[in-house]
Symmetry: C2
Subunit: 348 residues, 2 copies
DNA sequence: AATCTTTGCGCAATCGTTTGTGCAAAGATA
DNA sequence: TATCTTTGCACAAACGATTGCGCAAAGATT
């Protein structure tokens, strides 16, 4: 037991050739048996049995590089995220890594640091590694590069951050309806001056969330109060923009922040200004996170189905790889509004 | 520009053979030039120049599988963490991925789900992929398996979660002094009944943190109040143990939680019981996290140098790989106590 | 002019698989 | 018995690089 595991490292790595010598059969036959092609090539059951026995007596493991070199398949996928330190992406990564393992794939992680150039560099590096496919939550403004990759190299599936106009398949949250619901909730609770702090504007998810925000405001006849600020998914952006909002006059009575990092910055600004949530200002945000339940107060938020995002994206990618075709799936999963304590009734 | 990037995917992949035909030189020579061995083999400067030009005119990129097959090196490392969804590990992963990219390595991520068997399976899978080395924050009780890997397969470096008795190199936080400082802080603020909620007891970091806790108590003559509970790094464990502590009599006046997940559970329990932090009970925890500044109140905590942990571990690993020797580094980095608002003066 | 060095590069084996094709032996058919 | 199928496996060429050794031509030495 322990022994065999030791041996699997220490003995010179078993190869097909060695196995061939040991059994007196040809490399070809052994390869066929071990790769499950036995009856396709009519290897006799007796031989099959024999080979299998010897193979695991010797603890044979195929050399993946040699396999890949021949087959052009690595059973490896790339995952590119804007920032693995962001819990939202860490959770998605977690789901994908799990699922991939079950399916016999391993994942190479690439962190783009919210930067389009680093993302591109990362993707190129993945291609050099001959990944079979790539899942990316993009930091880019334009789909062109990734579309090229998808068309002429390996399948690409977008997750969360995507492009509105693209041939690439994606699986994302329904950002529009999420934002609509969140902002409507604020409005239903009596808020009118609802300000919105955005992430990078070129991002489709930002545009959708903005659209949801604006529509909610318009439906309530509040278009004159529509106020979008900010242009980055960062704590700092959230902080600065909230700071400015809190110095404006009249004050907004509620804030809609577009993700968890912006939220953090906004909370910091609010705390600094001595205002209280939700007594003085209400807050709803996009993105879930265990910590948000422990913040003071627990933040009402749009919860995205992180696990499903990950596992569906992976499923699409793997199918695409194994059927060797490009998917055109466009999947929008519904988020849910988690009501917590950061929204107060506003009865002006 | 755009053109060339397209071509790099679309054209049939350039190979040394193709390049040889194009230039009229031999594959050997080209290989030598492109792998920087030109003057070692006395290739004339003129030829070198010519080859380099043609190579990048044709956008040549070596096939990594073929390279690895020959050289037995993949320029790939494995990273095994107990849970990538834990922000602590996500941050470490972020640092490692960054640094690795700079050094020309890519990283394969494996998530052990806090489980020793999954960790082992993950490591085996990494070995099948022929990673050049592995960084692991271990979920195992025993060093045996990883030591075997280190001795007879590829270099292994432990990070954060390590073993006290092991031949493996590690880079960790000085858990003892961190805990000592944290608990001393509580004691200096007048606390006596300081309870401690632990992670898995077999873990060296837990033992060190416990030792720090116990020593701090003893130095203050408080050994009779030493009280360690819990046995898991999970929100649930923190919740349950805190729940129990809060039902005990007399109540502890302060809690020392061993990591961020335990902390969350404890906070939940405290909130549920209607107690306030720090008025009714003080809290200090191990692990940093941006969110902890926004929790109510901001949690006083031991901040570990996550980036350094990651980058130093990687540096050790890479050196080990490139020098082809096993390191025996045992590095302990000092954490710092970040004073926030979760500790009150206790004047009994 | 004969020998020795140095310069500049190529031959061919090798890494460990996969796979199209081929070919004997055994069995079936007539 | 001659021919045709089927059964069961092997040969050898890829995949795309690296590398020990060898060897001709040019230059240096005596």
């Amino acid at each position: 037991m322990q022994k065999s595991s030791i041996n699997s490292f220490m003995e010179e790595r078993m190869t097909l050739v060695a196995l061939a010598e040991r059994t007196g059969l040809s490399v070809t036959t052994i390869s066929r048996v071990l790769s499950g092609q036995a009856e396709k090539y009519r290897i006799s059951p007796k031989t099959v049995e024999y080979i299998k026995q010897e193979a695991d007596r010797c603890n044979y493991r195929p050399n993946v590089m040699a396999q890949s070199l021949r087959t052009k398949r690595t059973r490896t996928i790339g995952l590119v995220v804007p920032a693995i330190s962001n819990p939202f992406f860490a959770n998605i990564a977690s789901a994908i890594v799990q699922k991939a393992r079950e399916l016999g794939y391993t994942v190479i992680l690439s962190d783009a640091m919210e930067d389009a150039e680093q993302e591109e560099e990362g993707v190129r590096s993945l291609l050099l590694r001959h990944v079979d496919g790539i899942i990316v939550s993009t930091s880019a403004e334009q789909p062109a590069f990734l579309e090229q990759v998808n068309e002429s190299a390996v399948p690409v599936v977008l997750i969360d951050r995507y492009f509105a106009e693209t041939t690439l398949p994606y699986v994302v949250t329904d950002n529009y309806s999420g934002a609509l619901e969140a902002v409507s909730h604020l409005i239903n609770r009596g808020h009118q001056r609802v300000a919105c702090i955005c992430g990078v504007r070129h991002s489709a998810i930002v545009q959708e969330r903005m659209r949801g925000y604006v529509d909610a405001m318009q439906r309530a006849g509040l278009e004159r109060f529509v106020h979008c600020v900010g242009d980055e998914f960062s704590v700092q952006n959230g902080y600065i923009e909230a700071k400015l909002l809190l110095n404006s006059n009249p004050l907004p009575t509620a804030l809609f922040t577009m993700n968890n990092t912006i939220l953090l910055g906004a909370i910091k600004a609010i705390k600094e200004s001595g205002l209280r949530i939700p007594e003085d200002i209400s807050v709803v945000s996009f993105d879930d996170n265990p910590f948000l339940d422990y913040i003071s107060p627990a933040i009402t938020r749009i919860v995205q189905p992180q696990n499903e995002l990950g596992s569906i994206a992976l499923r699409i990618l793997i199918r695409s790889i194994e059927e060797n075709e490009r998917s055109d799936a466009r999947i929008k999963l519904s988020p849910i509004l988690k009501l917590c304590d950061s929204v107060a009734l506003y009865d002006k």
